[in-house]
Structures are given as C-alpha cells and as structure tokens.
C-alpha cells in the first residue's frame, strides 16, 4: 500500500497520485488568480475615471485576459482539485485513472496557456464572450476547446473514482453530501463544457477561413446556453464547499440530507435553462420563448438556492448551539469562530452570494428590468458579487484547509490569514454595489472611457463620479485582500512548517 499515506489530522487514507493532482491543479489555479488579480487592479484603476490608467488597447486586452484567467482558469482549475478531493480523498479511495487526470491537467494548461499568450500578443481582443463576427486568432478558439476537453476529462476521472470507491467498498452508506454536490457540479460541467467545445468548433473553422460565419444571434443563443449554464458549475461547487467548510470549521452536520440533496438535483434539472436572460433585449426570439426560459425553470433553481440559504446557516447554528452557545437568539453567531479564515470566508461568501449576487441576478434577469441593466456596469457588479464574493471567497476559505491537509504544511502568516477573508470579501461587496449604482446611471461595461474618444461628450449624474471612486478604492483594497491570499498560499508552500506524519 505504498500508494497511500494516512492523514495525521483526519485519519483519512490519502491516495498519493490523487494528492499530486490536487496539488498541481490548486497551485495552477492560484497562479491564474494572481495573474487575473494584477489585471483586475489595472482594470479597476482604469474604470475609476479619476485615475483612468490604461490606454484603450491595453484595457480591452487585459479585460479579455482577466475574464479568461479568472472566470475560466482560476475557477475551473480549482474545481478540478475539488473534484479529486471530494472523490478519492473523502471516500478513502484510490483515484481511478491518474493518467487521465494528468491528461486533464496538461490539456487545460496547454489550452489555457495558449489562450493567454494569444490574448497578450494581441490576437484576441474579443472579450471572453468572443461574439461572432468579431474575430480572434484560430489558436484562441483551439485553446478554449483544449481547455474544455481537459475539464471534461477531469469530470470523467471523478465519476470513475466514484465507481471504483463503490465497487472496492472503500466506504459504506451513501456518498457524503459534499461529494454529492460535487457530482451535481460535475454533471453540469460535462453537459455545458461539451456544448462549449462543440460551439467553438465551427467558430474555429470560420476563424481559420474554412467556413462562412455563424449567425451572430445563433452564436449568442448557443454561447449563453452553455456559458450561463456553466456558471452553475461554480454555484454547485461553491455550495458543496459551504457544506464542507461548515463541517471543517464548526463540525456542522446537514440538518436534513434529503432536503439538501434534492436541492442539488434541482440545480441539475433547472438551472441549465435560464440562460436566455442574456438575450432579453435581442432580436430573434419571441417574448414567450424568453419568458418561459427565464422565469419558470430559473425560479425552480432559485428555489434550490433558497433551500441551501436555509440549510447552510441552520447547520452552523445547530452545531454552535451544541457547543453550548445557547443564550438568546444570537449567542451562537457572536461566539462563532470569526478568527478562523475558513469560517469567515464561508460566512462572507454566503452573504455576498445570497444577498448581493443572487438577488441582483433575479432582478436584472427580469424581462422588463433587463432593458435597464443590459450591458451596463450593473452586470459586472452583479457577477463580481456571485463569482468573486461568492465562489472565489469560498474557494479561498477552503484553501486554508487544503494547505494543511493536502500540502501538509501549516498555513503561513496566520495573523494575515485571519483577516484575509474580511480584507477581500467586504471590499469586493462594496466594489460590486457601487459598480451597480454607476450602471444604474447608464455607465457601460467594457468601456475604456465612458466619456468617449473625442467625438460627442457625455454627461453623467454626479453620483456616477462618487460611485466610481468608491468602486475604485474598494477594488484596490480587494486586490490587496486577493494579494494577501496569494502571498499566504505561496509562502505556505515555501516556508510553511511541515506537518509531520504520525
């Protein structure tokens, strides 16, 4: 059994090839987070109109790369690590086919690297949405396809490992809730990423000059059909991570497994629809079509989020009350481990995603209100609340546990780790909020200069100036919080005290 070690903290059997893959995916994720974060700083210093740092050419180039490095690379590399963790490690099993895992990593690295290089060379100033007929270099689309195929392979390894664990009897009973949630995410990932890989094939051929362009509206429909749905991979993984952090930080147990699991199934069944809120103010599809897509099915997925919004804090409350914090209604909350970055990240992620990201998503995705939000700063405001304050922060919190458990090192600079989730989470919520305020006054997203480039001048409400300044300052602080995370992670790997195996 030389392929395994026994974890000195949890007693779990750790499959070494799985551990290696978790490490390499997590490290790569953090490298992309660092790159994307530096770009984020430059971008926010440009959108903060009083500073207005970058010239347009670089603003658009870096904005394209920021979207790819963050939304695609950082998040999906981290999710690959999470898939291996929740399958092999939590189930005490071996990873089914490690070489396919390595193929996953290589394809994603080559694909992601290719995309990044092409963007930096100026071959793909098209934003991560790459709407046709705006054209990028064929290698850009090729890189995306390779990346998506790699990620699909990661999901395959995950499911193969579930089968191995079951047949080899490494656990008894049903899958842990976290693994169950990860499985839901992996199912959504396989569906959406294969669609993604498929839609980019005609785009690649067109860009290479082999076939005529696809209809611009059809591209938008298909792109968001998987592009929006793939965001549910992030939601699903984030919720699974919430449950995991609840257990790791305060020892919480899901109040009712049936409820939590049903909610995950709702995600799989319904959240894949809803994607047409991206094309509510487009020609080409009837209102009936769009309303059906964006109301019925989406709200059943919203129901799932509402259920988790109850179950996650309820589990925390029950666990903390069991510890004896039973006085009054809120003693449990007051006495919660606020100095534990895993807990504070969990809590802030819950608040940011739920109150700021989720609500605004439902609002802006409404047929009529979308007219007032489409493509203005309300939109990046909304998704920095979901995917940054929500998903990214949750993943950061979980990383504080991956470092000791998988990398077997004590987290470096514990004093900094203690405040890092606050330093990142609170400003990013402020940043998102004031982005949305500015958007409400008609400031466009993806604009290198909201005052134009020498033609007609534009006037904005004075509130816009203030909002963008608050957005700018809080964005810079959030970058410090993000940098603190990267510094802690890297320092832990280099100088963190080794945890000796017992």
């Amino acid at each position: 059994m030389s392929d395994f070690r026994t974890c000195s903290i949890t007693g779990l059997k750790v499959h070494l090839p799985a551990e290696k893959l978790i490490k390499i995916n997590a490290v790569t994720a953090i490298v992309f987070l660092l790159v994307g974060g530096i770009l984020g700083l430059l971008l926010v210093l440009t959108r903060w109109q009083a500073v207005h740092l970058l010239p347009p050419e670089f603003f658009y180039r870096f904005l394209t790369l920021h979207g790819i490095a963050m939304l695609v690379a950082w998040i999906i590399f981290w999710e690959m690590a999470a898939l291996y963790l929740t399958s092999a490690i939590l189930l005490n099993s071996r990873l089914a086919v490690p070489w396919v895992g390595w193929l996953q990593y290589l394809l994603m690295l080559v694909g992601g690297g290719l995309v990044a290089v092409i963007i930096l060379l100026g071959g793909a100033d098209v934003m991560f949405t790459s709407y046709v007929p705006l054209k990028a270099d064929p290698l850009y689309y090729l890189g995306i396809i390779l990346f998506a195929v790699g990620a699909i392979l990661g999901c395959v390894v995950f499911f193969a490992t579930l089968v191995v664990a079951k047949t080899e009897g490494t656990y008894s009973g049903s899958l842990p809730l976290v693994t169950y949630g990860a499985a839901a995410a992996a199912i959504i990932a396989i569906i959406t990423l294969s669609h993604g890989a498929i839609v980019f094939i005609p785009t690649l051929l067109w860009s290479a000059g082999l076939i005529p362009p696809m209809d611009a509206e059809v591209y938008r429909l298909i792109f968001w059909g998987f592009g929006h749905s793939s965001q549910q991979i992030n939601v699903c993984t984030m919720v699974a991570v919430w449950y995991m952090l609840g257990t790791l930080t305060v020892g919480s147990t899901p109040v009712n497994e049936k409820v939590c699991r049903t909610a995950f199934v709702l995600y799989i069944l319904f959240i894949n629809i809803a994607s047409e809120h991206h094309i509510l103010v487009d020609p080409g599809f009837s209102a009936a079509h769009k309303s059906w897509n964006t109301s019925y099915f989406m709200h059943l997925a919203v129901l799932a989020s509402m259920i988790h919004a109850f179950s996650v804090p309820a589990a925390l409350e029950v666990a903390l009350r069991k510890k004896g914090y039973t006085r009054g209604t809120f003693e449990w909350l007051k006495k919660a481990p606020w100095g534990n970055p895993g807990f504070s990240a969990l809590f802030l992620s819950l608040v940011g995603f739920g109150f700021l990201g989720g609500t605004t998503g439902v609002i802006f995705g409404t047929e009529q209100l979308n007219i007032l939000s489409h493509n203005n700063l309300r939109i990046p405001g909304h998704f920095h609340a979901t995917v940054v304050a929500g998903t990214t922060l949750a993943f950061m919190g979980a990383t504080y546990y991956v470092l000791p458990l998988i990398f077997q090192r004590e987290v470096a600079f514990p004093w900094l780790a203690k405040i890092q989730p606050y330093l990142f989470g609170i400003p990013i919520m402020v940043f998102s909020t004031f982005m949305m305020v500015a958007g409400g006054f008609g400031v466009s997203r993806r604009s290198a200069d909201m005052y134009g480039s020498g033609g007609f001048s534009v006037e904005y409400s004075p509130i816009v100036d203030i909002s963008l300044s608050i957005m700018g300052i809080s964005g810079v602080v959030a970058c410090l919080g993000g940098a603190a995370f990267c510094v802690i992670a890297v320092a832990t790997l280099i100088i963190g005290k080794k945890i000796e195996a017992k």
Binding site: P133, T247, G251, S291, Q368, H374, S447
Partner: protein, 179 residues
C-alpha cells in the same frame, strides 16, 4: 457530517417544522415571481420589442443609406467624426445603423410622435444605450430589430455603444435630437 458517508435511512428523516415553513415560503415566492414576470409582460407593457426580421447586412445598409439620403437636413461634426443629420417625417420608418465605430445618422425627431426605428449593424455586434434614459438594446448584424418609439421629452440624447465592438468601442457615441 457533510464530508463523511451517510448511513442508510437519511431519505426517511422527516423535515423539521422550520424547514417546512421556509421551503413553503420560498416555493410560494418562486411561484409568485414566476407568474409575475409573464403577467407583467401583458399588464405593464414595458417590454422589449418583439418585432424583428432577418436581413442581410448589405440589404440593411442599402435601406439605411436610402433613408439618410431622402431625409437629410444637414451635417454635424465632432472630433474626427461627421454625421448626416436626418429629419424623418413623424410616423415613418427610421434607421439607426451601427458600424465600427459610429452610429448613423443623427436623428431629429418630434416630441410626442411615433416612429418605427430599425436597429441593426453592418459589421459586428453593437449595443444601443440611450443616455441618460439608460435603455439598452442589442444591434445584431443580419437582424432588423424594430423598436416602436415615441419620444416624450424634448432633449438631446446620447446613444452610447455598450456592446464591445473593437478598438474604438468607447468612442462610438451618437445622438438623437428630440424637439
């Protein structure tokens, strides 16, 4: 524990009272907004237009140019740009052409009159943002998007491109004059 396997029987565990209440409220709320959105489509009449046609970029361009020639009443310049100012008769079909990186023409409209605005693009995607109303619509090549509009305020509106369309996307700012 959510990270350890669960013994059989979890499916039979009854829901707590609080859970039942919460899920019921959430479900009712979801049903309510699910009904509210389509309902408001009919009651509110504040919807995006549902009138659109496919048209090749060349054909659309021809129509737009004919339109501009027919009703041209002047020109205007700002920076390196020059526009035709076009004053179409009330009730007519009017064109707003998006192209890299210009909205053509400058439309002069009458307050209180209704026009059928044909919005499209002859190259890549553009976004029509009517400022300061903050109303936003997508201009898609190959599609003629017909917005029936009745300006209610005499004012100079800016039209800002808010769909990324290349190097000078931020410079793509046009004008609608309502008098």
């Amino acid at each position: 524990m959510s990270i350890t396997p669960v013994p059989p029987g979890w499916w039979k565990m009854p829901l707590h009272k609080e859970e039942k209440i919460w899920i019921s409220i959430a479900l009712i709320w979801c049903i309510a907004i699910t009904i509210a959105m389509p309902a408001w489509h009919f009651v509110g009449q504040q919807n995006s237009s549902q009138e659109y046609y496919t048209i090749s970029a060349e054909d659309y361009n021809t129509l737009a140019e004919d339109f501009m020639e027919k009703y041209k009443t002047g020109t205007e310049t700002a920076g390196d740009w020059e526009w035709d100012v076009v004053t179409p008769p009330p009730g007519s079909d009017i064109f707003l052409r998006g192209m890299q990186w210009k909205w053509d023409p400058i439309l002069k409209l009458k307050k209180g009159e209704t026009y059928r605005l044909h919005l499209s693009s002859i190259d890549v995607l553009h976004g029509l943002s009517i400022h300061p109303l903050n109303m936003n619509f997508e201009a898609v090549p190959g599609w003629d998007y017909v917005l029936t509009i009745t300006p209610t305020q005499a004012k100079e509106y800016r039209i800002i491109c808010n769909e990324f369309c290349g190097a000078d996307h931020h410079g793509m700012i046009g004008k609608i004059i309502v008098e």
